[in-house]
Amino acid sequence: MRAEGTTLDGRGRAATTAGAGRGRRSGHIPGEAGVWVLVLGDMMVFGVLFVLFSQARAADPDVFGASRETLSLPFGLLNTVLLLGSSYFVARAVRALRDRDLGGDGGGGRRPALFFLAALVCGLGFAVNKGLEYGDKLAHGITPATNDFYLYYYVLTGIHALHLTLGMCVLVVLVRYTWNPARKPKTAVVEGCASYWHLVDVLWIVLFPLLYLV
């Protein structure tokens, strides 16, 4: 499964063969460095959006507080659990691939793909739930034009939904990529894709309390 030039340490993580132990001392970047430029860049962009939202709320706390009360907490809570679950399945999928690489059965040759599939189902659940929440708001005449809170609500959750959609496309690719046990996926590709999906979870972990709780 692993790409040429990589090996696996005792904990099942990839490390470079160039210089024994160097990978452990200098650390192993999950995926490619370029993926982390994307991940950290996206985090920075969302960080700016979080600050803009907080700034707008500080300028008009009454409207933001009253609007927050109209959001449905169960929708947000369920979506948080779904994304945490999906991140868990993706983490297990990456680990199962390494286990298979080490000669273990990985609980069955298709286990990594099934974990990715479970993560995809969680992602679909999130999308459906978000769609229901949008529908509920729109049915009550709540649109981005309602007030600044809802403008930020639709923009922030909308951009996050785009990330989610792209992430689900990545998960579909990963399911297909890892379905055949005889195929040897490149560790860096799988880790990079997994890191992107975890980013979707990371962003929602901030968005949920920012919009629904505080």
Binding site: G10, G27, S54, L84, D99, G104, V206
Partner: protein, 97 residues
């Protein structure tokens, strides 16, 4: 011991850790939601507590799911620097408001 058995055993131990982490994350999410619902008022203390729980959750996802535990230190510092910055700015603006 056959070759590969020790690493496989370590991998299973790692799987258990990841499973415990997701259970902890879900429990902590429930805790922060309960705090938000039941703590009276809209005080800075409540916001600080909830955002601190968020920071811990982000760190756990980074370290255990994104596998930053074994990443180069600069990458770990960048990730956690973002967490601290977001935490501080959200609380800071809440205090101002």
């Amino acid at each position: 011991m056959t070759p590969g058995r020790a690493p496989a055993s370590a991998a299973r131990a790692g799987d258990r850790v990841v499973s415990l982490v997701v259970v902890a994350l879900i429990l902590v999410t429930g805790l922060s939601t309960w705090l938000a619902e039941d703590l009276a008022g809209d005080g800075a203390g409540r916001t600080t507590l909830i955002m601190t729980i968020v920071a811990v959750k982000l760190s756990m996802v980074g370290l255990f799911f994104m596998e930053l535990r074994d990443a180069p230190r600069p990458l770990v510092l960048l990730f956690h620097g973002w967490i601290v910055a977001v935490w501080a700015l959200i609380i800071g603006f809440h205090l101002v408001g």
